[in-house]
């Protein structure tokens, strides 16, 4: 396999982008990425999107996006794995370059979420339609049931759980692309409306329009295009049960553990080597469970550690310097690519006020459903 580099990135503003359609979003991020890599033509294109059909009544995104970014003729396909669609698209791009099949690959993720009314239904299609959703469960509901068991078993308090979104909003203040770049306090979290007990509105990542793109090429060619590039050191991907109830232990996300182990093994690295990690904090409890599965904290301890400041600047590891899904926003199919963009910016010293100093290794963790799929990347500064 060839080593693979990221040579350019592009992001749209995350938020309620009323003036932008799904193709506008993708084109903006893709053209920015191509400009930053100083390229005009790509050899192959992947686009991650969870549910463009239900959100924007538009399938066939490979063709649409190749057409609208001036790349008609290239192989172009959409990758879908619920909320991990973006990260899985990056993995496909990585494999495409690593295999020697193509040299310059455009990978993007996009979701246009504000054009539909019943977004709760669309998101729930990532769960088991006939045996979960049919019986009334929602996505916040599934994570609420994880939180319920975790809090009871490990004694995590409601106030401690609230420290996850409080921390991520604090980070998000310094992200110009974030949907909610402002701080929230404990009172705001605890008085926000109940969504699925014990999770409240400010435990939940928002509904977001947005797109993110990266340009990949063989590491040996990266310098032809730019001096700002990073190496994709490793990728690990895994599947888990589609139904939350089939997780043997309801506080464990086996697919995250598997994907993490595969990435660490491929990289030859350990959790203590990682300087920062972008995790899939779709709900406050998710960041806690993921931080444990990736080996940053022992089982049952991440909640209290995050509440004590171990996951921010000066702590054990910086988790979600971008603000995470909570503050940055969660355009579902774009999220996994946006995480990679954040890691690229951090590792090339372009993260501004949220820069993690002397960062050499950054990790991204992108998850689908209630743990039904997960993809982990480890990026290295060059």
């Amino acid at each position: 396999m060839r080593d693979v580099a990221i040579i350019g990135v592009g992001l749209t503003q995350f938020g309620e982008n009323w003036d932008q359609s799904i193709r506008d979003l993708f084109a903006e991020a893709a053209l920015k990425a191509m400009e930053s890599a100083k390229i005009e033509k790509v050899d192959s294109l992947y686009v991650g999107s969870m549910s463009s059909g239900l959100y924007a009544y538009q399938e066939h995104l490979g063709s649409l996006m190749a057409d609208y970014v001036g790349q008609i003729g290239v192989p172009a396909v959409r990758i879908e794995s619920a909320c991990s669609s973006g990260g899985q698209a990056v993995r496909m791009g990585f494999l495409d370059v690593a295999s020697g099949m193509h040299d310059i690959v455009l990978v993007g993720g996009v979701e246009k979420m504000w054009d539909v009314e019943d977004g709760t239904f669309v998101l729930a299609t990532a769960a088991d339609q006939e045996y979960e959703v049919y019986n009334g469960v929602t996505f916040p509901g599934l994570y609420a049931m994880m939180a319920r068991v975790y809090m009871e078993r490990y004694g995590l308090t409601r106030e401690e759980l609230a420290q996850v979104p409080i921390k991520n909003h604090k980070h998000g203040v310094n992200n110009p692309y974030a949907q909610f770049p402002f701080e929230i306090d404990l009172k705001a979290v605890l008085s926000s409306s109940m969504v699925a007990d014990p999770l409240r509105l400010l435990d939940c990542s928002p509904i977001t329009d947005g797109a993110a793109c990266v340009i990949l090429c063989p590491l040996e060619r990266a310098k032809e295009f730019t001096d700002k590039f990073v190496k994709i050191r490793a990728v690990g991907s895994a599947s888990g049960p589609i139904a939350f109830h089939d997780h043997k232990d309801l506080t464990r996300l086996d697919a995250v553990k598997l994907a993490g182990e595969r990435a660490y093994k491929m990289a030859g690295l350990k959790p203590e080597d990682i300087d920062f990690v972008e995790v899939h904090d779709c709900f406050s409890i998710a960041e806690i469970l993921v931080a444990e599965e990736l080996g940053f904290f022992d089982y049952g301890t991440a909640g209290k550690a995050i509440a004590e400041g171990q996951a921010t600047y000066g702590g054990k590891i910086v988790i979600n310097p971008s603000g995470g899904l909570k503050a940055k926003g969660h355009p579902v199919g774009a999220t996994g690519v946006a995480q990679i963009v954040e890691a690229y910016l951090q590792l090339t010293g372009q993260a501004g006020k949220r820069q993690v100093s002397n960062a050499r290794f950054g990790m991204t963790q992108n998850m689908g459903g209630s743990g039904g799929s997960c993809v982990v990347h480890i990026l290295e500064a060059m």
Binding site: E117, D118, T120, F121, A124, D128, E130, Y131, E132, V133, Y134, N135, G136, V137, T138, P140, G141, A144, M145, M146, R148, V149, E152, S193, M194, V195, A196, D197, P198, L199, P241, A243, F244, H245, D246, L250
Partner: protein
């Protein structure tokens, strides 16, 4: 909405709790072809007794449109006495009686309607056994 046939296919599982028991001990309410634990393709057909225990629960305040009139309502992950894991809406239950470890039984209930001209959907819900 031509989803009535999608509904009728699941009737044995939803109305009669027909399940499969695999050699590893894994019990599946949905129809399966392979034991996710052992990989075995052999199984025994069983009917769940309808009794079980709550492993976790939540109270849903923001639902998808088809359940809006029911909010707030409780949903639980239940392990049946045979070992099947099932997600079910709770019914005839006070929220304060919900707890991890509480005993429940399944009852036959209306689940939803498929719009003005569609069929009425039935299935199981669970209630606390006092």
């Amino acid at each position: 909405m031509a989803i009535s046939q999608r509904y009728t296919r699941e009737i044995p599982h939803r109305y009669r709790l027909e399940a499969q028991k695999f050699p590893s001990g894994f019990v599946s309410l949905p129809r399966r072809y392979v034991d996710p634990i052992s990989g075995s393709r052999e199984f025994e057909k069983i009917r769940l007794s309808g009794k079980g225990t709550i492993l976790s629960y939540t109270i849903i305040y923001v639902s998808a449109d088809q359940f809006k009139l029911l909010t707030p309502y409780a949903v639980a992950v239940i392990e049946t006495d045979e070992g099947a894991r099932v997600t079910a809406m709770m019914t005839d239950t006070n929220f304060e009686d919900l707890k991890i470890g509480a005993r429940v039984e399944f009852v036959f209930r209306k689940i939803m309607e498929e719009g003005a001209s569609g069929i009425i959907n039935y299935g199981y819900k669970a209630k606390i056994i006092k």
